[in-house]
Amino acid sequence: MSLYIVTKVEDEDYAIEIDKVQSIEKIMKITRVPKAKSYVEGVVNIRGDIIPIISLREKLGFNKNQLKDKNRIVILKHDDILIGIIVDSANEIVEIDEKNLDVTEDNDNSITGLNMVDKICKIGNRILLIVNLDKLIS
């Protein structure tokens, strides 16, 4: 059993291991970084650390949206890299039993788009997509 934070993008539920999450921040002024990839929104200052911010939407292949107050930035630490991802909202924690996890054999990416998801979990009639951080932050 382990805990996951559920974030929403386009009404889909994307779950991130809670161990990797440093904090969840409200939307703030993001400083654009020129010449960076389009999904890089920029950098922010979080308590003295300069942290790059990427758009989970764009990484997942959705269109870019105007950022609104309800958007959230989830700060993750993975392999010593601190990074923030922008999600539509993040306000739920679920407990997932590893036994309920289905590893998707989704090699042609037909279901989950850009290969950012490698496991799927069903809770009741909900479907949670588990984000593969290695692929997200590569």
Partner: protein, 650 residues
Amino acid sequence: MDNNQYLEMFLQESQEHIESLNNNLLDLEKNSNDKHIIDEIFRSAHTIKGMAATMGFGNMNKLSHKMEDLLQDIRNNTIEVTDNVMEILFKCVDTLSEMVDLITEKGDDTLNVEDLINLLDNINSDKNEIAATNIKVTPTETEQDINIYEKDIIEEALKQGYKSFRIKIVIDKSCIMKSARAFIIFNELEKMGSIIYSSPSIEDIEDEKFESEFSIHLLSKFDKEYIKEKLLSISELKEIIIEEILFPKEMSKVEKKENNEIKNVQKNTKTTKTVRVDIERLDNLMNLVSELIIVKTRLEDIESDNKNSEKAATIEYLERITTNLHDAVMKVRMVPVERVFSRFPRMVRDVSRELNKKITLNMYGEETEVDRTIIDEIGDPLVHLIRNSIDHGIETPEERIKIKKPETGIINLKAYHEGNNVIIEVSDDGAGIDLDKIKTKAIEKGFMSKEELNQISKDKIIKILFEPGFSTSDKISDISGRGVGLDVVKTKIEALNGDVDVITEKNKGTKFVIKLPLTLAIIQALLVKVGDEKYAFPLNSISEVVHKNINEIHKVQGKEVILYRGKVIPLIRLNEILEIENTGLNVDLICVILKKGENLAACIIDELIGQQEIVIKPLGKYLSNIKIVSGATILGDGQVALIIDSNNLF
């Protein structure tokens, strides 16, 4: 026992001892008869051996033990310091150093040392028997078992006001860990003076190869009662007999001892009052100071629209304190360049031997202090430059004699402060850089055409040396000449916000001058606005800010340029590079004149904000491929401004 907490200390100390071994061996090579140097070396080897044994690193212990045996023979004059012996000793030190590296990485010291130990044994083999019998002699309270070497030491020590004691210690039979007890005794005694002889030998005692008693010859400034009292505080000792040995002849000299001689001794044993601090803690402290400076700037910003004199005075006071605090923390982080320099004597020795050249390395200003972050980075560039000097600069002894130069070449390594910079010079009295050779190579490799080369100045031709993929060496040697050296040096130095320059004269020599900022963490910067975004330029990359009219932009070969102080310099439209839409046509242009070495460029910005002290923060691994930004800083309002790396703008 959990050794982990000691491991770091062990590694650090081993490294220090290896460094001192290296230095002392180099000295020994020059004066092979200096007893003090041999003593130093012996002490270091002995300490390493002891530490390795305690930490359970068998290989390291074994090697240093063998090394110590050899040194002992050198001390006793039974073995002469020949080239071969030196070579083996150096090899031992290298192997020990490798072991330390291995322990750091993997936590064990498994390294094949059989060959080396065989070499050591071969040297020792002739002497082993004598040495062995020497050790087995049971001590009698006479002078006879004090060999010549020890006598020398005793005489010397007596002159300096030491007293000589013979101490016999009997450990209680019930004591379980005799060697541990002995170790404590040795420790205690070493605090009071130096042990010059022990029977059985220290090694045998450590291995518990003794019954229950042993005797020690101690030189100490303390008197008999004091030593006895100290030893009595150690438990499980059955008997302690202390006897002062008087040498009638020497005693008369002792009375005549000069005060300054005492001072000398004190100098040698002087312990500096220092504390070892984990680098991470220092970094953390530095970060906190940076935060404080940011908050201070923020307060100043608020203050500017608020007129309250008492508050203003308080903020001014705060500003003074933060500046002082910043200076103080910076000083703590400063380390002498000696840390980098210390490895060079050994390197010069090895490389010059390999190339059959005779070279003296002189080092000046080793005490010059630089920020830790810089120290870690300049090692490699300096290695390149020094290797270059040895390989390309200094001629072979035959050539040097032919052109009436002293047979031995000189390499000078010099460090000193200049304003807010540190200058490091590497110079040699060798052949100098052959300009014609550079020209031929440049044409050959297609860097420039003959016509172009004829037009540019001597300095510019030398600069070609720093181009990637350029090397003038005819043959590719192991040392340098792969054409990667100098451009790596340049990139590395520039990444540190520094600069490299070359001065060369044919047959007189070459001098490389490296200029580096004192610190990388906090710099003065010019804040500007491009569109709605704020950016910072490091002040040391700016030559001036000028206003130009839009009519003053000219075009040369399709590129925009302006005239600046009679020079034609390229114009950079920063908004285009930063992908910011132009906010409209301005007639009056604000140009920041950027400098990169001797090259200038004018960079158009929209608005000047002002000069400010900024704290540099890295953008992090994830965005490391963005070349035009060298880092970021946090502004007074908590927002992030990017720092432009002007080296990559033009």
